[in-house]
C-alpha cells in the first residue's frame, strides 16, 4: 500500500509539474492493456482492441488519445484505459513496458498474448496491489489466489461450427494453414475436422472420406509464410482453404483464384477475401467489460476463465450469402445455440484419433461414447482426430493418458 501510494503521488507531482494543472487523482481508475502488435494487424490484436473498445459502453468517453481513452462513469470516477501496442515478443521488453505502465499508476494490467505470461506473473508477485490478467497462456499454472487471473476463449467451439458449415456445403477436402503444432491450435484443427465430418454426415456424405491437410507455419503471424503455405496447399490440389493464423493472408491468397473457397478465422476476413464462407471470431469484450466493471465494484476475484459461446465470447461474422444458403446459416446458428446452452460438446465421444508416443510410434486414441475430453485433456491435446493429416504434434513426454469425464446427461 505504502509503495503504491508513493508511486501515485510521484506521478501526481510529475503530472502537475509537467502539465501545470493539478488533477485530483483519487477518483480515477487506470486499466492498461498490453498488445504484442498493432490493432491494425487485422488479426489477434485487432480482435483484442475490438473488445477493449467495448469498455467505452461503461460510461461516457471524455477523452481519446490514440488508442487510449478515458471514460467518465456515472459515479464520477474517471476510468482511464491505456493501450500500449507493438510491444513485441521479447520477455525483457514486455517486462520493461509493463513496469512503466505500473509505475505510471496502472491499477489493473492485461497481458493479451502468450509471450507476456512470464513477465506478468513475475510482476504480479512484485506488485500485490495491482491486478493482473494474462490471456491465452496456461490456466491453473500461472494464476494465483490474490491478484492474478488467466483468461482464454474456447475458440475450438467455433472452429467446430466453421467445419460444420463447410461439411454441410459438401466440401470434404480442406487444406489448413496452421500456426504452431501445440495444444491450442491442435484443438482448433481437431474441432474443425470433427465439425466437417458431422456436417458431411448430415448431408449423407461419407465423413470417413474427408481429409483435413494441415501445414504448420511455425509462427503466430507471418504474411509471407501464410501466403506460401496457402499456395502450397492450392498447388497440391485443394480448393478449400481453412485459415487458422489470425491474420487473413492465407484466405486472401486463396481468393485470388476464382472458384476457390476460404474460411476465415479470428477477425472478419470478408473485406480482403471475397471467397470466404464466413469467419469465426474472438469476442474479447465479453470478458473485458465485466472484468473491468468487477474491478471498479471491488468484486474482482482471481479465476481461470475459459469460456466460449455460452459467455458470448465467440461469434460468426462475414457470412457470404452467395456461397452459404440461408438454411445452412440457420443450422449453424442452431448449433451455436445448443453449444451455448451446454447441450452439445464437440469433444464428446465417440472420437478416435492418433498421436505420437514418446518412442515415436503412432498410437491410437479413443474417446468412447458417453465420455468427453476433460479440460485438462483439451489443454494437453497433442494428437489428431481421424481425418486430419499432417506433421504430428510433438509427443507428450509421458504418452497419452486421457482422464475423460462423463458426458452431461440431458
Amino acid at each position: 500500500m505504502k509503495f503504491n501510494f508513493k508511486v501515485l503521488s510521484l506521478v501526481v507531482l510529475l503530472l502537475s509539474i509537467g502539465i501545470g494543472t493539478v488533477i485530483a487523482q483519487d477518483d480515477t481508475y487506470k486499466v492498461a492493456f498490453l498488445l504484442a502488435d498493432s490493432p491494425s494487424d487485422q488479426g489477434w490484436n485487432a480482435a483484442h482492441y475490438r473488445g477493449i473498445e467495448q469498455i467505452k459502453e461503461l460510461g461516457e468517453v471524455v477523452e481519446e488519445n490514440g488508442l487510449s481513452f478515458n471514460v467518465a462513469l456515472e459515479d464520477g470516477t474517471v476510468l482511464e484505459v491505456q493501450v500500449v501496442e507493438n510491444i513485441g515478443y521479447n520477455d525483457a521488453d514486455i517486462e520493461r513496458v509493463a513496469r512503466q505502465v505500473i509505475n505510471g499508476g496502472a491499477d489493473y494490467v492485461f497481458g493479451t498474448w502468450f509471450d507476456s505470461m512470464s513477465a506478468i506473473s513475475r510482476l504480479a508477485e512484485e506488485f500485490p496491489d495491482v491486478l493482473f490478467e494474462h490471456g491465452s497462456g496456461y490456466p491453473f499454472v500461472a494464476s494465483n489466489d490474490t491478484n492474478f487471473s488467466t483468461y482464454f476463449i474456447r475458440i475450438e467451439e467455433s472452429d467446430y461450427v466453421a467445419g460444420y458449415v463447410a461439411g454441410l456445403l459438401g466440401y470434404s477436402d480442406v487444406g489448413l494453414v496452421g500456426t504452431f503444432s501445440i495444444p491450442e491450435p491442435v484443438r482448433g484443427v481437431n474441432g474443425f475436422a470433427l465439425g466437417l465430418q458431422d456436417g458431411l454426415a448430415e448431408i449423407g456424405e461419407d465423413p470417413a472420406k474427408s481429409n483435413v491437410q494441415v501445414i504448420w507455419i511455425n509462427s503466430w503471424l507471418d504474411r509471407e509464410l501464410e501466403v506460401q503455405a496457402a499456395t502450397a496447399l492450392l498447388d497440391e490440389g485443394f480448393t478449400v482453404i481453412r485459415q487458422m493464423a489470425d491474420t487473413p493472408y492465407s484466405s486472401q491468397t486463396t481468393c485470388e483464384t476464382e472458384g476457390n473457397i476460404a474460411i476465415g478465422y479470428g477477425s472478419d476476413v470478408s473485406g480482403v477475401a471475397d471467397c470466404s464462407l464466413m469467419t469465426n471470431e474472438w469476442k474479447w469484450g465479453a470478458y473485458y467489460v465485466p472484468q473491468v466493471q468487477a474491478a471498479l465494484d471491488g468484486t474482482w476475484e482471481t479465476h481461470d476463465w475459459w469460456e466460449g459461446f455460452a459467455a458470448d465470447a465467440l461469434g460468426i461474422t462475414g457470412w457470404n450469402d452467395e456461397l452459404v444458403p440461408a438454411d445452412v446459416q440457420e443450422k449453424a446458428q442452431a448449433l451455436i445455440d445448443s453449444i451455448a446452452a451446454g447441450e452439445f460438446n464437440p469433444f464428446c465421444g465417440p472420437i478416435s484419433g492418433t498421436g505420437l508416443s514418446p518412442e515415436g510410434d503412432v498410437v491410437e486414441i479413443d474417446v468412447p461414447e458417453g465420455m468427453c475430453l476433460s479440460d485438462m485433456d483439451q489443454l494437453t491435446m497433442q494428437w489428431y482426430v481421424d481425418g486430419v493429416s499432417g506433421e504430428y504434434p510433438a509427443a507428450p513426454p509421458d504418452g497419452f493418458e486421457l482422464e475423460l469425464v462423463e458426458a452431461a446427461s440431458e
Partner: protein, 315 residues
C-alpha cells in the same frame, strides 16, 4: 520427386525469389562500384509502401511501380550523399538508413490511408500473373517460369542484361574499376564520385522494384514489416552470388524454394526439420565464401570488389 511437385516448387520459388533477386541485383550494382549497401531492407520497406500507396491512390499499377522505383532511388541517393560526398562510414550509413526507414515506413503507412487511417488491410490494384503464350506449355519450366507477373518477366531480361553490362561493355569495366581500384580508374579519367552516385541510385531503383513487387504482386497490399527481413537475405545473397548477377539467380531460387519445399514436404507427409531448411540459404552463403577464400583466381571475376566499403579521396 514427381514432375508436378518440381513444377509447383519452382513456381513458388520464383514468386518468392523475385523481390529478393531484384534487391540482390541492386546490391550488386551498388557494391560493384565500391559502395557497401547494408540499407537494402530500409529501401525495400519504403519502396514497398510507395508502390502500394502509389497504385492505391492513382489506380494505376504503372504509377505504383514507378513510385517504388523513385523512392528506392531517392533513399539510395541519401546513402550516396552520406557515403560519397560526406565520406561517412558506409556500414553506419546503411544501418542508420534501415532503422530510420523502418520507423518512417510504419509511421507513414499507418497514417496515409483514407481519412488519415492505416493502409493495412486495404485492397489496391495488383499485378496479375499471366501465361506467356507458347512458352507456358513447355514441360516443367512452362508453368513455373512462364506463368508469372510482369515484374518477374522483366527480371528475366534484366539478369542477362546486367551481366552483359557488367562484364562485356566499356561502362561495365568502368563500374568494376571504381569498385576495384578507384585511384587507377580516376587516373584514367573516370569520375569515381559521379559513377558511385549513379550506380548507388541505379541499385536503389532495382531494390525499389523488389519492394514494389512485394506490395503489388507477391503479397498484394501493405502491412507493417512487409519485407520480413528480405533485405537482409538480399545482403547475404549478394555475398553468395560473389557479386555476379547470374549466380544471384541460384541464390534467389534457393531462398525462395526452401520454404516452398518445406511446406510441400509437410503436405506430402514427410518431414525434414523445419529449422534446418530455414538455415539452408545461409549455410550455402558460408560455403560459397569458404569456396572462394584462398582461390585468388576466382576473385578476379567474381569476388569481393577490392575497394568495397572504402572511401575514395581524390588527392
Amino acid at each position: 520427386m514427381e514432375l508436378a511437385l518440381i513444377e509447383s516448387v519452382l513456381s513458388i520459388a520464383i514468386r518468392a525469389g523475385t523481390s529478393v533477386l531484384f534487391a540482390t541485383l541492386g546490391g550488386i550494382m551498388t557494391e560493384r562500384s565500391g559502395v557497401l549497401n547494408l540499407g537494402i531492407e530500409g529501401m525495400m520497406l519504403l519502396s514497398a509502401l510507395a508502390g502500394f500507396a502509389g497504385a492505391f491512390y492513382s489506380g494505376s499499377l504503372l504509377v505504383g511501380v514507378f513510385a517504388g522505383m523513385i523512392v528506392g532511388g531517392l533513399v539510395a541517393a541519401v546513402h550516396a550523399f552520406w557515403c560519397v560526398t560526406l565520406s561517412a562510414n558506409q556500414v553506419a550509413s546503411g544501418l542508420a538508413l534501415v532503422i530510420f526507414s523502418t520507423g518512417l515506413a510504419d509511421f507513414i503507412g499507418q497514417n496515409i490511408g483514407p481519412e488519415g487511417t492505416t493502409l493495412v488491410g486495404l485492397a489496391g490494384p495488383k499485378l496479375q500473373r499471366f501465361a506467356v503464350p507458347g512458352l507456358s506449355s513447355l514441360p516443367i519450366v512452362g508453368e513455373s517460369f512462364f506463368h508469372q507477373d510482369a515484374l518477374t518477366y522483366l527480371l528475366y531480361l534484366l539478369v542477362p542484361l546486367i551481366w552483359y553490362y557488367l562484364f562485356k561493355t566499356r561502362p561495365g569495366i568502368h563500374l568494376r574499376a571504381i569498385g576495384e581500384n578507384p585511384r587507377a580508374a580516376d587516373s584514367l579519367g573516370v569520375s569515381v564520385t559521379r559513377l558511385r552516385y549513379v550506380y548507388t541510385i541505379v541499385g536503389g531503383v532495382l531494390i525499389g522494384l523488389g519492394g514494389a513487387h512485394l506490395s503489388l504482386a507477391y503479397t498484394p497490399g501493405w502491412s507493417v514489416d512487409i519485407t520480413s527481413g528480405r533485405g537482409w537475405i538480399a545482403i547475404a545473397m549478394v555475398i553468395f552470388s560473389l557479386w555476379n548477377p547470374l549466380r544471384a539467380v541460384i541464390g534467389a531460387l534457393l531462398f525462395g524454394g526452401v520454404t516452398a519445399i518445406q511446406f510441400r514436404m509437410q503436405a506430402a507427409g514427410t518431414s525434414i526439420p523445419t529449422f534446418f531448411l530455414s538455415m539452408a540459404p545461409y549455410i550455402a552463403t558460408i560455403v560459397a565464401l569458404l569456396f572462394i577464400s584462398g582461390r585468388r583466381s576466382l576473385y578476379r571475376h567474381n569476388g569481393v570488389p577490392s575497394a568495397l566499403g572504402t572511401v575514395y579521396h581524390r588527392e
